[in-house]
């Protein structure tokens, strides 16, 4: 159940960023799974509310309007940005470079 919610949120946020899911999805899941228990509970609660909000209120709207509404909704914006940041980090990861 917990994994399903996290996966669903990642999927929605890839879609909102107009990107296809890639090999980094599992890395994002690993990242969330590695957070401390209390943080993971917070992320789970936030993700559940995010999914309910997304499908019950804004699902049918265009992407731009969806993003605008999500950004303007306090707390929902936090979980939205959390996933968005993780996806962006993964999309622009530069694994080829050596450590500096």
């Amino acid at each position: 159940m917990i994994l399903f919610i996290f996966k669903k949120c990642i999927k929605i946020n890839f879609y909102l960023l107009e990107k296809k899911e890639n090999q980094y999805t599992s890395e994002i899941l690993n990242y969330i799974n590695a957070t401390e228990k209390n943080t993971k509970i917070l992320i789970f609660i936030g993700s559940s509310v995010f999914i309910i909000y997304y499908f019950s209120l804004i699902f049918l709207l265009s992407n731009n309007i969806k993003i605008n509404i999500l950004q303007k909704t306090p707390l929902i914006n936090k979980i939205f940005q959390f996933y968005r940041k993780l996806i962006l980090i993964s999309l622009y990861e530069e694994t080829k470079k050596s450590n500096g």
Binding site: L17, Y24, N30, K37, Q71, I89, K97
Partner: protein, 482 residues
């Protein structure tokens, strides 16, 4: 049984261990995190493996602040070590008043600070001109136009062998410090550093700590260990957490920290700031006010994450011209805002709450405007402000200033990496620790990390933490208190 059992292998724990070993005391260090071996890691991997709670320790309040600290052998010095800065005399003088003795302003403290500095820096102390990043060069150029004070930054280079020959601004955010120098000396003198060892419980008998329970974070096995003296050096959020969880104290002191606010920008021509993100200089014009400007890590994954508030098109546009961009940091010492660490009602854990004080909010606005001006002076054609809303891209200074003036507190994106003074030393015996680093009410429980600093340094605190610990150890040894 070792003479001293130290919890944490960061700046405080390492300095304490080395000083004790030099004085023929046996030492055992337990560190919750793993050993970072300079492996190639992605940003997400490194966040998961060597940062506490994956780099997202939250300070709840308005706005929510993200505090980042290390959880690996070397502690926060691995992820954020590097800058060697002396705390200014005005602050040290206030600290001496709190302690009621000539400790921080003494000649001896200064001598020790120089010794610690020598042990961390190489001959040059500052970055070789070849390694000065383009971001720093741009900022220096702008600062000189305003006649602002620009100072080269002393860096903990000792034994650091990386492609840029520096511990700061690595491509994947992994930095190296004490594990490359102090820990080598500690091991040579017979000290033991055990990673993957989390302190779960502290057992006390009246005024004495007699046993601790350590969990191996890999196989989850538990081990009880008898202690002679327990030194908590787990850092400014973890040390108070251990005290509160084990009911050794009822409450801890407010936590002081710095604000970090980043301004992204774009230039008309390629500036190639991604080649090296070495933080080589600080703009110290506003140092007395606790404000420093500097270049920041310009690496793709981090920059992309800073852009998360913008639309997909704008993110794509910025990232496609990555070589044209840069990022600058405004580090601010709050004058009024502090965080409170309390025991959680729901979990056997602590929660950290804070609120941005109005006067500190005004201070942030003031210095965001000054940094914006500097960035435009450096030649930037547009800047992106640290605001959690879209369309925060400005190509005119006046528009940026107007936006800053109309800012809402809760929309600011603030992070922090330096925190301190949650168990501050004081002559007042109702405080957490006394002037020897001993927890009041106990005979063999010491705190030796950033928690004991009496207030905010306004500077990178590593040198001050290590010097304070070194002096405290000597003070205890000299007065036969150990």
């Amino acid at each position: 049984m070792a003479d001293f059992t130290i919890i944490g292998s960061g700046a405080g724990g390492s300095a304490a261990a080395l000083e004790l070993l030099k004085n023929k005391k046996s030492v055992e260090i337990f560190e919750e995190g793993i050993e970072y071996k300079n492996n190639r890691m992605t940003v997400l991997e490194s966040l998961s493996k060597i940062w506490r709670n994956n780099g997202i320790t939250l300070f709840h309040g308005k706005p929510i602040l993200n505090f980042a600290e290390g959880k690996c052998i070397g502690g926060s010095t691995v992820i954020n070590g590097g800058v060697i800065a002396h705390t200014n005399e005005e602050i040290l003088s206030k600290w001496d008043d709190i302690l009621g003795e000539n400790f921080f302003l003494s000649e001896d403290f200064n001598k020790k600070a120089n010794e610690v500095e020598e042990s961390l820096t190489n001959e040059n102390k500052i970055a070789h001109p070849e390694y000065v990043s383009n971001s720093s060069k741009l900022l220096i150029k702008a600062a000189k136009q305003k006649n602002y004070i620009v100072m080269p930054t002393k860096l903990a280079f000792k034994n650091i062998k990386t492609i840029h020959n520096h511990p700061f601004g690595c491509e994947n955010s992994n930095k190296n410090s004490l594990d490359k120098n102090y820990h080598i000396k500690i091991k040579k003198l017979g000290g033991k550093i055990k990673g993957k060892s989390k302190l779960l419980k502290i057992y006390k008998n009246k005024e004495f700590i007699n046993e601790i329970l350590i969990e191996n974070t890999e196989d989850k096995s538990l081990k009880k260990i008898k202690v002679n003296n327990l030194v908590l050096s787990a850092g400014c959020t973890q040390t108070p957490k251990l005290l509160l969880q084990n009911e050794l104290v009822k409450k801890v002191n407010p936590l002081n920290f710095h604000f970090n606010l980043k301004i992204l920008c774009n230039y008309n021509d390629k500036v190639n700031c991604q080649i090296s993100s070495l933080l080589s200089h600080h703009i110290r014009e506003f140092e007395k006010d606790g404000v420093l400007f500097m270049a920041s890590n310009y690496i793709k994954p981090l920059i992309a994450s800073y852009l998360s508030f913008e639309s997909s098109t704008k993110i794509k546009e910025f990232m496609s011209k990555f070589e044209f961009g840069s990022v600058f940091n405004c580090q601010i010492r709050p004058d009024f805002s502090q965080a409170k660490i309390n025991k959680s009602i729901f979990f056997n854990d602590t929660v950290i709450n804070w609120n941005l004080h109005d006067k500190d909010f005004e201070k942030i606005k003031k210095y965001l405007k000054i940094l914006s001006e500097l960035v435009f002076l450096s030649g930037a054609k547009e800047i992106i402000l640290p605001i959690e809303k879209n369309n925060q891209i400005f190509n005119d200074l006046q528009d940026a200033i107007k936006r800053i003036d109309n800012l809402n507190k809760k929309d600011l994106e603030i992070t922090s990496v330096h925190a301190m003074s949650s168990c501050s030393m004081s002559k007042n015996d109702k405080n957490i620790t006394n002037t020897r680093g001993l927890v009041n009410g106990f005979k063999n429980l010491y705190i030796m990390d950033s928690s004991i600093l009496p207030s905010n340094t306004g500077q990178h605190p590593q040198l001050t933490i290590m010097t304070t610990v070194k002096k405290l150890i000597e003070k205890n040894l000299e007065s036969n208190k150990f």
